[in-house]
Amino acid sequence: MLLLPLWGIGGLCLTSCDKDFVEINTNPNAVSVPTTPYIFSKALYDGAANSGNKGSLLFGLMQYTTSYNDVEGFGSKYTASQVNATGGVFSNSYPTQINEIGEVIKAVKDDPSKVNLYAAARIWRVFCYSRLTDLYGDIPYSEAAQGYNLSIFQPKYDAQSAIYADMLKELETAATSFDAANPTTFGTSDLIYQGNVTKWKKFAYSLMLRLGMRLSKVDATLAQSWVTKAIAGGVIRDYADIAKVSYLASGQNINKNPIAWQLLNDNYLRADGVNNTEGGKFQEIFISSLKTNKDPRLGVLSVVYVNGVASSDESIQKGMPATINGTKPADFVTYSEPKQTTVLKVDAPLLIFTVAEANFLLAEAALKGWYKTETASALYETGIRAAMQQWDLISGVSNVIDKARIDSYVTAHPLKTAGTVAEQTEQIYYQFWVGIFPDAQEVYNNYRRTGYPALVPNVYPGNATGGKIFRRFLYPVLEQTLNRASYNEAVQRQGTDDLLTRVWWDK
């Protein structure tokens, strides 16, 4: 009552009080309309970076590296106090590559002129999801990354079987939807193939081969049908078709090879073999194996610092035991560590799918009788050669392995075709282990599926698994509170959220 007349003072405000508000509330450092190709590039970088390969975890678990300390050594020791570190890939991936590729797909999927963009984005999305589900099993998939679009804040977890079914279907649909006659592609924003539709198609079928083969343990028939389909579609067999992301020597961290940068940053920036930040070194098992087999990669991958100078002298290479209990050994400097010009090279391309991998998978398919055009032994040999050759790609021709040494290695390690299928599979996946390095995650996937290489677990005091190599990663602990119902449902279906619970295709 009394207030009403006084309102007059502000009366002028009532009509114009918010007239400049829209402008004020517009972020001067952001745009409202996305540039889709730029987001696609970001999704490629992020998808390549956020995987089980980041950090020392899978490198330790697959017995490539170790540390005397418990934190960095977690992967090789399964230290109980560090188990929650396994949630990181999940939490890092969704708000980055998964959401980004979703933004890309949202922008292009209904535009027929952007069919090639849509197809490439779908393939990359499959790649990104496959990396996640292989580590965790059941994950949010059908409802994931819909926080903004559909206000789904607690996405349900899908069964891995359903995720695989959808991913394989997506690959097939995307591969067949490419239109080579349509000139619209991501062009230079496509960090993998610069818009080359033919190569994308091969990548799609290669992923189909990889994911199809993944099902061999749980459902051989299904696996065979997808593997056959993939081979028919045409997988990556030529060096020029290798799926890889290129990086730069300097600039932002996102522009650097994520595996190399992380290893370097975690341990090897000083490059003196002594003051390794987290006490990291190559593991004994890996280096001994290369040495025993006179593997020409030894000098390409590994160095020992002698008086502060890196030496690739194969005779002095030795790996550090993973059993060291928390104390830096006095002879720490004498252990091998990754070479700065190869494994730690930040402008090396990151190989996403290689000729070597295709050949090893095909060799297994041949062994299983699913592929009859080539022999297992020929594919196996081609795989070894390709795996050795690709170090020139990684190192930028500075570490080309001498052809004579490749020949003698191949001669010394033929596929023992007289042996059992199991023995030959072991040979193939031993080569996968030394050949696909540093893609430790893909090695881990095939290790779980095939059981090879026959790694002997480390029984370390205070380990979380009772001295067993763990079979999956734990969900991020935040999921227990922020997405409780979905989390519980997944645990109910899949089994305890435990390092030893097996994912669906590993059962």
Binding site: N27, A30, T35, T79, F90, G147, N275, T327, L478, L482
Partner: protein, 1066 residues
């Protein structure tokens, strides 16, 4: 006593209107004079003469009242004043001398007294009663409006400026600790210049800011921490550094008084910004006087680490029961105390490579930290004439922390000029310039660069000084423990370079003009602007980041307010008074910030942003505008019944244009019951009050309405872009509301000897704008929703008394108590819990969970069966973990109290403040590490023969296993970080917060120097912890002023300080 007379006249009417609520007979009241303690004694005499003589004495002790005015009522020209003996002589003109006249005797501090003098009286004696000050006291309320205390319909607490200047805290907000019921203030353990956390009546927002608005002379200032508050799990130089808040810049010497508006009706005129209460600071002004008044205040204080952990000193450095005898072993076990029994043996080698006797080193905290010092010098000049008064103050504060290399300097210049330009026109200007400079503010939170980790974690047979200076001749950090991320504290002290400078200008100008005698227009504009520069160098040669890292913040922050008001007061006859106010305000907040980050100094040891291998400069801009109109009306009925109405409408730029405005009403009433009812004579007065108010606000952050996309820094030729924020924007965002209902009373008894003020309140926030953390699988990590509901209910009690009061000795005591019950009512649809912070490594979480108090501590427990047996995992030989959502304690104390006692004897005074907080808990990261590293006494079992574990398996079978000594650390104690419950403790405490022993020097001898008064005090802060339940640390060991409280994370240890203060007035 005009009021009393009015009352008498209208007593009957009042009884009718107030009928039913009282049982006393309306006709049984006694003489109001008696009730008010006023006595008039006649010395009988009859004569018609014109001179009236008399004496005016204090009713209390019959001492003369000097300078009291004695006037004839209605004819002020006829008057005189009392002399040094209290005597007066009043000459009445003849026309008055023949008939009875009314004489008014008054003096400041006493209740005025009227009496009718008949012509027969020639001499009178008047006993003046000291005024029950409450009645006349005026307090500053919202927008600087002064109101009589009795008119207040809500609880307001006031502290005089002297409460901050003797035993001073660098950050004046910390000085509120324990002083005001309902105000929960805590200083942080982040060194001098650190932030404060003040929460009034419970946390008001689930994820937003819950701290009050600070207002100086009626206008808001900025209280943000540049670059954001440090985080409880903050890692590294930016996230782990507390850069100090806005209130830290205020010089206590400039404060005349501080008034706390606890929210609701008190703060309703501040609309959106009053939701968490308002702290009003009134600065000192000049006085009209002859010459220049000069005041000097100097304080020197020292501080030392106050709390020491109760570690074990039976087994020394080493692992597996073996002490190190080589350098390599010593380096690997630098933080491990799982070695051999401490036996004084001489073959022990420490991380310095030298042999030392294997003996316990118990003084590492004392040896690592130094005695901190703070020297403050302030000088103020004031003066003026009837037209212009001024006050200029200059102050310099120089502090050295207990952590060597950590310093803080604050210079303040404050000028206040008020001018009366004409009878109707007044102007006032306040300008403050200050410059704050910090160096090497300690990094807290996580390990990297946190100097305290070494002091607290170094093995117990190592003298920490052996690890100095922390670097080799080249400046590279010396390896001292197994984890490079745990920085050598001396390397931090000697080689880290953090500097921050804040140049701040606060300007306020106002002009007011009286259009009519009772209608005043006022225009005020204020700007609080600062320019901030922060650079933090993690140097080349560190163990963890060998090539170094750079963090920088450059920001320009401004808060600008322009306000016009019109104020009108009138009385309708004798019965109804009205004062009304209306106005409009526009507020603009702007932050233009660049965050700099880089890694790898290309030229080693050369620390320039231009010398980084990788660098990014990220712009962060925000602009917020709020426009408001408001009005209030205060109506009183015969000065005993008061009604306050206010309304404010705010428009927010941060909200959706569809819903960007809201109206906040408030209504309050206060009633002087004692003026109406005949109270027992013990009561001086009794006031009842009630109020209801709605306040609220817009979105705290701009740009949360629409999805946007930002470029991502990239060196490649291919541009990168991403969504701008991991937070889901909300186009529907509307204002939130906070509704408070408050009831209370205040009373004064026994002639002012005892006063009680009590309040109950119920505050509910609805539609709270919550940045709800959501599953990352949604593609985002949070969503901004209008969904929260939060309740705070509580009681507040203030009891003040003067048990002894005589001319030489007095004892004043003041006790305050508050209880606040908070409850999270709603978060968002389908979301019943989320985390607002967590400890380093995620061992403990601060969560908001529906049905539970705000900010509880959550985490894991050991799994137990129904019989209480621990269930062991037979793989790891460790107890199984429960899920991480176990409630382990309240992160916020629901109970707070404070007790101040002041004794005065002649020129001496002694003042002691004891305060306590109860019912909250704290999670200790320090204890997590002290357990993993073997420092805790709880790690002693098993050292000799291995640790026998007993329990059950998951299947329910009996389980037994002995952890061998060799693996005691790695297989067992190192993994106990998995069980949050082990490290959560009751954080209740009682502290002797402050002691001041003060002496007013007799100035007689100093008079020749021009000294008018001199005071010297011995002061102490945080002297003793009288009660605590944490064995190893101070339960107030907080390190962030953000919402996630209840985590101790190895910040700078809490200190006790003591010093001397000198105040001189010329």
């Amino acid at each position: 006593m005009k009021k009393v007379r009015l009352l008498k006249k209208n007593q009957h009417l009042l009884w009718i209107s107030m009928a039913g609520c009282l049982t006393l007979s309306p006709f049984s009241f006694v003489d109001a004079h008696k009730n008010k303690g006023i006595l008039a004694l006649n010395s009988a005499k009859v004569a018609v003469i014109s001179d009236l003589t008399g004496a005016v004495l204090s009713a209390k002790d019959a001492t003369p009242v000097v300078g009291a005015s004695v006037i004839v009522k209605g004819n002020q020209r006829i008057g005189t004043s009392t002399d040094a003996q209290g005597n007066f002589k009043l000459t009445l003109p003849e026309e008055l001398a023949a008939s009875p006249v009314t004489i008014v005797v008054s003096f400041i501090g006493y209740e005025p007294y009227e009496l009718v003098v008949s012509p027969a009286q020639t001499a009178i004696k008047v006993l003046l009663k000291e005024s029950a000050q409450e009645l006349a006291e005026v307090v500053v309320t919202a927008l600087g409006i002064k109101k009589e205390k009795k008119a207040l319909s809500y609880s307001v607490s006031e502290i005089a400026g002297t409460g901050f200047t003797q035993a001073r805290e660098n950050n004046v907000a910390n000085a509120l600790t324990g002083k005001i019921a309902g105000v929960n203030a805590t200083g942080l353990s982040t060194g001098p210049g650190g932030s404060s956390r003040v929460v009034i009546r419970g946390n008001g927002s689930l994820t937003g800011n819950s701290q009050p608005l600070y207002v100086i002379n009626g206008m808001p200032i900025d209280n943000s921490v540049p670059g954001g508050s440090s985080l409880a799990n903050g890692l590294g130089t930016k996230a782990g550094t507390d850069r100090g808040d806005g209130i830290a810049a205020i010089n206590p010497d400039d404060i005349e008084s501080m008034t706390v508006l606890k929210g609701g009706a008190a703060a309703a005129l501040y609309g959106s910004r009053g939701a968490n209460g308002v702290i009003l600071i009134t600065t000192k002004k000049g006085k009209s006087q002859k010459g220049v008044g000069v005041e000097y205040n100097g304080t020197f204080s020292m501080e030392n680490v106050a709390v020491f952990p109760d570690f074990q000193y039976e087994y020394g450095q080493g692992d597996g029961g073996v002490k190190p005898t080589t350098l390599a072993q010593a380096q690997a076990t630098g933080r491990r105390s799982f070695g051999a029994k401490i036996d004084g043996s001489t073959d022990y080698v420490a991380a310095d490579g030298k042999t030392h006797p294997y003996v316990a080193q118990k003084d590492n905290l004392k040896n690592f930290y130094q005695t901190g010092t703070t020297l403050t010098n302030s000088i103020a000049l004031s003066g003026g004439n009837d037209a212009v008064v001024y006050r200029l103050s200059l102050s310099d504060l120089n502090a050295k922390s207990v952590l060597p290399s950590n310093t803080y300097n604050r210079k303040t210049a404050n000028l206040n000029i008020s001018a009366k330009l004409s009878d109707r026109l007044r102007a006032e200007a306040v300008v403050q310039y200050n410059r704050e400079q910090g160096n090497n503010r300690p990094i807290a939170g996580d390990a990297l660069g946190n100097p305290n980790w070494m002091a607290y974690e170094v093995a117990n047979t190592v003298d920490v000084r052996w690890l100095a200076p922390g670097h080799d001749a080249n400046g590279n950090e010396i390896f001292w423990n197994d984890a490079g991320i745990v920085t050598n504290g001396y390397f931090f002290i000697n080689k880290f370079k953090e500097t921050d400078t804040k140049d701040r200008f606060i300007g306020q100008t106002s002009i007011s003009y009286d259009i009519l005698k009772n209608l005043t227009l006022k225009a005020t504009t204020t700007r609080d602007f600062y320019n901030y520069n922060f650079t933090s160098i993690m140097p080349t040669g560190g163990q963890y980041i060998p090539q170094g890292q750079y963090d920088g913040i450059k920001s320009d922050v401004s808060e600008t307010n322009s306000m016009v008001t019109a104020a009108y007061t009138t009385r309708f006859g004798e019965t109804v008074g009205l004062s009304a106010l209306a106005g409009a305000n526009t507020r603009q907040f702007k932050n233009n910030q660049f965050d700099f980050f880089g890694q790898g100094y290309t030229i080693p040891y050369f620390y320039s942003y231009s010398n980084l291998a990788t660098s990014t400069a990220t712009p962060v801009a925000s602009t917020i505008k709020t426009n408001s109109v408001f009005a209030s009306a205060d109506v009183d009925y015969k000065n005993f019944l008061f009604l306050t109405l206010s309304g404010r409408q705010d428009w927010f730029s941060t909200l959706s244009p569809k819903n960007n405005t809201i109206f906040y009403p408030s209504v309050g009433t206060s009633f002087m019951l004692s003026d109406v009812v005949n109270m027992p004579s013990a009561f001086d007065f009794l006031k009842l009050r009630a109020s209801w108010a709605q306040v609220g606000g817009g979105g705290p952050d701009p740009y949360t309405i629409n999805l946007a996309y930002s470029s991502v820094p990239s060196a490649s030729s291919v541009p990168l872009q991403n969504v701008s924020s991991n937070s889901i924007t909300n186009a529907e965002l509307k204002p939130f509301t906070s509704t408070t209902t408050e009831l209370g009373f205040s009373t004064r008894l026994f002639g002012g000897r005892l006063s009680i003020d009590a309040a109950v309140y119920d505050k509910k926030s609805t539609n709270d704008i919550v940045s709800v953390p959501i599953s990352g699988a949604s593609g985002y990590t949070s969503a901004i929703l209008n969904s929260g509901e939060l309740s705070n209910k509580g009681i507040e009690l203030l009891v003040e008394g003067t048990p002894i009061k005589s001319s030489d000795f007095s004892w004043n005591t003041s006790f305050n108590f508050a209880y606040n019950k908070s409850e999270v009512l709603k978060l968002a649809d389908g979301i019943s819990t989320f985390s607002i912070g967590n400890s380093a490594n995620g061992n403990a979480f601060i969560n908001n969970q529906v049905g539970m108090p705000f900010g509880g501590i959550y985490g894991y427990r050991m799994k137990k069966d129904a019989a209480g047996n621990i269930i062991y995992d037979t793989n790891s030989n460790l107890p199984l973990q429960t899920d991480n959502n176990q409630y382990l304690g309240n992160g916020v104390h629901p109970y707070t109290m404070g007790l101040t006692n002041t004794f005065k004897y002649k020129n001496f005074s002694f003042d002691a403040l004891v305060d306590g907080k109860f019912g909250g808990s704290i999670f200790s990261v320090m204890e997590v590490y002290a357990t993993r590293l073997g420092l805790m006494k709880s790690t002693l079992p098993g050292r000799e023969n291995g640790l026998a574990l007993k329990g059950v398996t998951a299947k329910g079978d009996a389980y037994a296993y002995t952890v061998p000594v060799a693996n005691l650390r790695s297989a067992y104690y190192n993994n106990l970080n998995r069980y949050t419950e082990l490290f959560v403790h009751d954080a209740s405490f009682v502290k002797l917060r402050q002691v001041i022993i003060s002496y007013n020097l007799p100035v007689g001898a100093l008079k020749t120097l021009g000294v008018k008064s001199a005071n010297v005090s011995l002061v102490g802060r945080n002297l003793l912890i009288l009660f605590k339940k944490t064995d190893n640390f101070d339960p107030e060991q907080g390190l962030t002023n953000g919402s996630a409280q209840g985590i101790e994370s190895i910040g700078l240890p809490r200190t006790r300080s003591y010093g001397i203060n000198l105040n001189l007035k010329f």
